[in-house]
Symmetry: C2
Subunit: 380 residues, 2 copies
């Protein structure tokens, strides 16, 4: 498997950003988070797990992005297509990069407007006091990015889709092997650990996300950590994973039944599959995120408008969840290259069940990236 992307991928991203920046009268973009920095540079490391050091990338009005980063990362950044790399020895308790960033922004953006991602699903990964210091001392003005980063990242290139699909295949092979690790008597926490091992064995670089639950006639929560309670005959087991390979996520789940499922559980699973089918049948360029929501909601609640989980799917790519949201409010118009999860949930006698698949929007419809779940629940 080929790792990373050719430089042309980053050039295309940068040029698209610069075109939107010109329309928005932005002299530069200032980026601080792992996904934003990686999107424009290809800089990939698990070192972001440490919150100690801030990292900055500036997208200028023209030319390559400029990195203003701790010296510990300069060698790795120099292996990307970025040429202008300025670094300081971090952490520096007097000035942790703000002086160098000020100087660089003044040089690149002058007195112009500098856009920071500031909308839903974003945050600024730098100390708040340093943000206020920066805003007070640069020649230009800090403002929002007007959704430019969201708009770019929402539509994936062919190369990105290939990577997401590869990760989906890895997770699919791990799900196929769940019968090897889960049976009555095995603690749920052990199932979680062994499922992550299966993902790694099948080729994931790491497993950033595993959630799940097991209970009779449906579960009541899909975000809790696993307890040591053993699986029992009659349980429905759900495992949901966001695995990572070469910088791209999958995000889908599978349900299993400990022994034959009850008629009610199998019927609920049927409805979840039907809901996924309904959304996939509808999904094509021009349809909205809200329309996909309603297609599924009509089947799982009879059109009640959803539940407390809040959405029935979302974007997917460099992060476990990305824009848009499949909710009634989100009228994002689908375009070829958008990668989405379809994630209907349904109330059952014992709680709830959820199901999730991953699709990509094509020229005239959609294509599943995750190997589709069988309608009949797999028995363990």
């Amino acid at each position: 498997m080929s790792r990373g992307f050719p430089t042309a991928e980053y050039q295309a991203r940068t040029q698209k950003a610069q075109s939107l920046m010109a329309q928005a009268d932005l002299a530069a973009l200032l980026l601080t988070t792992e996904a934003e920095v990686r999107y424009f540079t290809g800089y990939q490391t698990r070192f972001w797990e440490s919150p100690a050091r801030p990292w900055f990338v500036i997208v200028p009005a023209s030319g390559r992005p400029v990195a203003v980063i701790p010296s510990i990362g300069a060698a790795l950044m120099a292996r990307t297509w970025i040429q202008d790399i300025r670094s300081w020895r971090a952490p520096d308790l007097q000035d942790d990069g703000v002086g160098l960033l000020t100087q660089t922004l003044n040089e690149i953006a002058g007195g112009g407007r500098i856009g920071l991602p500031d909308g839903h699903e974003t945050h600024l990964r730098m100390p708040l006091a340093d943000y206020h210091r920066l805003a007070g001392q640069i020649d230009g003005t800090l403002t929002g990015d007007q959704g430019i980063i969201r708009r770019l990242r929402m539509v994936k290139s062919a190369a990105e889709i290939t990577k997401i699909e590869a990760t989906c295949q890895i997770a699919g092979r791990a799900f196929d092997r769940v019968p090897q690790i889960a049976r009555a008597g095995v603690p749920l926490a052990q199932v979680f650990r062994h499922f992550q091992m299966l993902g790694l064995e099948e080729g994931a670089d790491w497993v950033p996300y595993v959630a799940g639950a097991a209970a009779a006639e449906g579960y009541d929560d899909v975000i809790s950590p696993a307890s040591d309670a053993p699986l029992a005959a009659g349980d429905v087991l759900m495992l949901d994973t966001g695995m990572m390979c070469d910088g791209y996520f999958c995000d889908f789940d599978r349900n299993f039944s400990l022994g034959p499922p009850s008629a009610a559980v199998q019927a609920a699973h049927d409805r979840l599959i039907d809901a996924t089918d309904a959304a996939a049948d509808l999904a094509r360029p021009g349809v909205t995120a809200a329309q996909l929501f309603h297609a599924m909601d009509g089947i799982v609640t009879g059109g009640a408008g959803g539940s407390d989980t809040g959405r029935l799917g979302h974007g997917l790519g460099m992060q476990l969840t990305e824009w848009p949201s499949l909710i009634p409010q989100d009228h994002t118009v689908l375009e070829p290259g958008m990668v989405l999860t379809l994630e209907p949930g349904i109330a059952t006698g014992g709680g709830m069940m959820v199901h999730e698949e991953n699709i990509v929007i094509t020229q005239d419809g959609c294509r599943f990236l995750s190997p589709r779940a069988d309608r009949n629940l797999v028995e363990l």
Copy 2:
């Protein structure tokens, strides 16, 4: 193993915070990140991997913290000691919790000062536009937390130290098994995957961090992702991991030699062990972080004042890296209960080598939490 903490742990944290808040004239603390929220509530989930939703916890001047969170998390939060849980159905594109947060802050803090963590190693995990909206519409004033959260989290309770030590033991057992997975001809990327599997098999809940490198006579980078280059005779292999068990990290590494090490490599490793010993011999209450730096730097550079990696250790606990930093500038005075990494690095003919152990400061010295590395490099 007992999971989580009794309520008394959270009560003690909250009361200490409230005492410091009174001194700092803060009517409330507003917290937004995973570690901050978990520190005061015990709320534990891998769902933070999704950037879609903001989460808020308010520490009032007295009484229990108040949660203002997406409804998808309300059931799990209700299993903690938190009683006042206010939720909205997120994501909400019109108002993603800011209205509810405003109302709650006005009720709790009135026109008072509300502290947000704003110093080094912190960030605000909410959209920047929503932060500005909040600041403009609440009755009170948003300001910094004056380092209160840092000060509290830097000194661990006995129960926290027990959890960190348990995670260190898990990683120690995984390191002991590296000879099972690493030998000449095995690609480094496969060693990374299999090492994570060993950590899971030995009891880690998940493996948020693995880094490492392999090269003859020392490596040149300690934060890059693994390539598919096979290990070769004569290589020095370094693996560094931050595993997680029950919410607490370890962070240490081990070096291995593919076949007998060269005299220069073994000598470099000796110096790293000597440096760790020197810092551990010095470490006790009243000594500063800077003094630990100089004790190690004197041995690994002859007192040159460090290198581009920027520090020779750091705090450790709920996050892979925490306050303080072992750097010349950091005059944090050590106290019993602080957990630190000792992480000297040394230049070698072929690049560098690093070594890392974890210690806790005791009443009259320190104690190793990681099972100490042998002075003689383990041969693979």
